[in-house]
């Protein structure tokens, strides 16, 4: 099966006051269909440029990129028909038009017939829980509502590949969590879409992505599963566990679990205890059974941010300029 995103030696530089500013320096990458892929790196690493090249908004200086089998230079129109792009700027709507009018308009521009555009807009508004606000002007929407509309717009024509440029930026924790669940479960697991995500939220990256690429100063430093990258960077995998109930003796009991290298109490907030568990490898589903055997009431359990941050630092250092 050919990759949904296939990039070879991609190079791009922007003109700057003191000469060209290199944004992408020989990036090569292949993302298979149906994968949730994350692009991770510090500000100015070239993540947005990379997405903009794949979305045909920026023409690369050199190299090749294919999306859904189409070349971004030669078949730009076909690429655009195959992709959905969620912009990091949620103010990219006609504010005086309603959410429904905006979606119907962009649906028409995606070659949907009027009836199909109306139906699809209604479906997506319902899906994102925006029915009640559907006929209110977008300028009256909250940031979260705009961002949901942003994702809805990208899905109007049912694209095979979706680019998400910081989709949860500015969202409150609950809305962000709901959007993440929707992206993972609905778009990737149920609909089989390929997603390329950029975000500064590392937990989001580790939670959502099958694989992650670390981009730094326009160069691809590493590609792999988040836990794999953290491990390759010389770190074991650190997960954060939050449990309800007394914390007495908990660290000792957890330390005896198979695969656990260390347990460090992180905080005790009211009736809950927060601990950082260092594993030899990423834990599997059996761990939940072991937690249950210990009688733990787990409030939250997931990878701690540090894994990818460390990986970024390590991989940035490994490759000389």
């Amino acid at each position: 099966m050919s990759p949904a995103i296939d990039v070879v030696d991609l190079v791009h530089a922007y003109p700057g006051p003191r000469g060209p500013v290199e944004a992408l320096r020989g990036v090569a990458l292949a993302v298979p269909p149906g994968e949730f892929f994350g692009l991770f790196g510090p500000n100015g690493a070239g993540k947005t440029t990379f997405i903009r090249v794949l979305a045909t908004l920026v023409t690369p200086a050199a190299g090749a990129a294919r999306v859904a089998g189409w070349d971004v230079r030669r078949d730009a129109a076909r690429v655009r028909a195959a992709i959905g792009l969620v912009f990091s700027n949620e103010y990219s709507f006609y504010g005086r038009l309603t959410g429904r009018q905006n979606l119907e308009f962009f649906g028409a521009l995606q070659n949907l017939a009027p009836r199909a555009a109306r139906r699809r807009a209604a479906e997506l508004l319902a899906f994102f829980g925006l029915e009640r606000a559907a006929d209110a002007p977008v300028q009256s929407y909250s940031t979260g509502m705009r961002q949901k509309l942003n994702v809805a717009r990208a899905l109007l024509h049912d694209p095979a590949v979706v680019f998400l440029d910081e989709p949860t930026k500015g969202l409150d924790a609950l809305t962000a969590e709901a959007l993440r669940a929707l992206l993972r479960r609905e778009l990737v697991e149920r609909q089989g879409k390929t997603i390329l995500l950029t975000t500064h939220d590392l937990q989001e990256m580790e939670q959502l992505c099958d694989r992650v690429a670390i981009l730094e100063a326009g160069r691809l430093r590493a590609v792999g599963a988040p836990a794999e990258l953290a491990r390759e960077a010389g770190r074991s995998v650190v997960y954060r566990l939050e449990v309800a109930g007394p914390a007495d003796g908990l660290a000792e009991r957890l330390a005896r679990l198979p695969g656990v290298l260390a347990v460090e109490p992180a905080a005790v907030t009211g009736p809950a205890a927060v601990l950082d568990l260092t594993f030899e490898h990423a834990p599997d589903a059996d761990l939940w059974r072991l937690f249950a055997d210990l009688g733990l009431r787990v409030v939250r359990f997931g990878p701690k941010e540090e894994g990818l941050v460390t990986a970024l630092k390590e991989f940035s250092r490994e490759v000389p300029e």
């Binding site: 045909t56 992709i83 006609y94 005086r96 038009l97």
Partner: protein, 270 residues
């Protein structure tokens, strides 16, 4: 078929946006009506006098002024609106979302102006109708097919200039210099308020170098005197010449400006 639906959607979007500013929306129509009254009042200063300079048109000054003012306003939209709407899209952050749709880039760039142009046709028609029905503008001899043909050619020529202005916006982000140039030359030299023949002899070559001078002259002859397309062939040929030059030049300029914006990553900049 899809392109027609896209054009319709662009026009509808423009209408919804314009209509959302209700006071401004209806105020514009009232303003268009008052302009007709203003031309009428202005023309009354001449009374029944028929200046020699108007003899060629076989009509009165009010009709002359109405046709010139109404059509100049409409063609001025063709000059300026593509650039103006593109500036709005850039400022609103909606240009890039338009440019990643399946709509061809040229239509996505120029399409936002379609509502204003469509509205302009209706307003111009209404202004002429009000002038003729209630204020005595004499369009009884008008040769409408000839006027429409000449008007269409003029629109192609001015839209060419308009697309050049849009290309200018893609590169420089503002088209004020070109809009200013279009307005000044239009209202000073193109014979909107007075015949080109009334200009000082030294300035007349400038006037005849402009497509709108020929357009207004030909359209007035068609609407006031009922001149046929055969009689107006010279104006038609000149306008076709302008259109033949401006259309490909503007298409090339728009394409080059878009390629530059994509190369420099400045498509969404404003």
């Amino acid at each position: 078929m899809f392109r027609l639906l896209t054009v319709t959607a662009l026009i509808r979007r423009g209408f919804l946006h314009a209509a959302s500013y209700r006071l401004n929306f209806f105020g514009n129509y009232l303003g268009a009506l008052l302009v007709v009254v203003f031309y009428y009042v202005l023309a009354q200063f001449y009374g029944q006098a028929r200046p020699a300079a108007l003899a060629a048109y076989a009509g009165d000054y009010f009709t002359f002024l109405l046709i010139g003012g109404v059509l100049a306003r409409f063609f001025s939209l063709g000059f300026k609106q593509f650039a103006r709407e593109l500036e709005h899209e850039l400022a609103a952050g909606t240009l890039e979302p338009l440019m990643v749709t399946a709509t061809p880039p040229a239509l996505a760039l120029l399409g936002p102006a379609l509502w204003t142009l469509a509205e302009g046709v209706v307003v111009a028609g209404a202004q002429l109708a009000v002038g003729a029905a209630f204020l005595g503008a004499d369009l009884t001899r008008a040769n409408w097919p000839a006027a429409l043909a000449l008007g269409a050619l003029t629109l192609v020529a001015v839209a060419g200039w308009g697309a050049l202005s849009a290309a200018f916006v893609l590169v420089f982000k503002r088209a004020d210099p070109l809009s200013w140039l279009a307005d000044v030359t239009l209202y000073m030299f193109a014979g909107v308020y007075f015949p080109v023949a009334a200009l000082p002899a030294a300035l007349q070559p400038i006037a005849w170098a402009l497509p709108l001078s020929h357009a207004l002259e030909g359209l007035r002859l068609a609407l006031m005197r009922g001149a046929t397309l055969t009689e107006l062939w010279r104006y038609g040929l000149i306008l076709a010449g302008f259109a033949a030059v401006l259309a490909p030049v503007s298409a090339w300029a728009l394409s080059a400006a878009l390629a530059r914006a994509r190369r420099t990553g400045s498509l969404g900049h404003y």
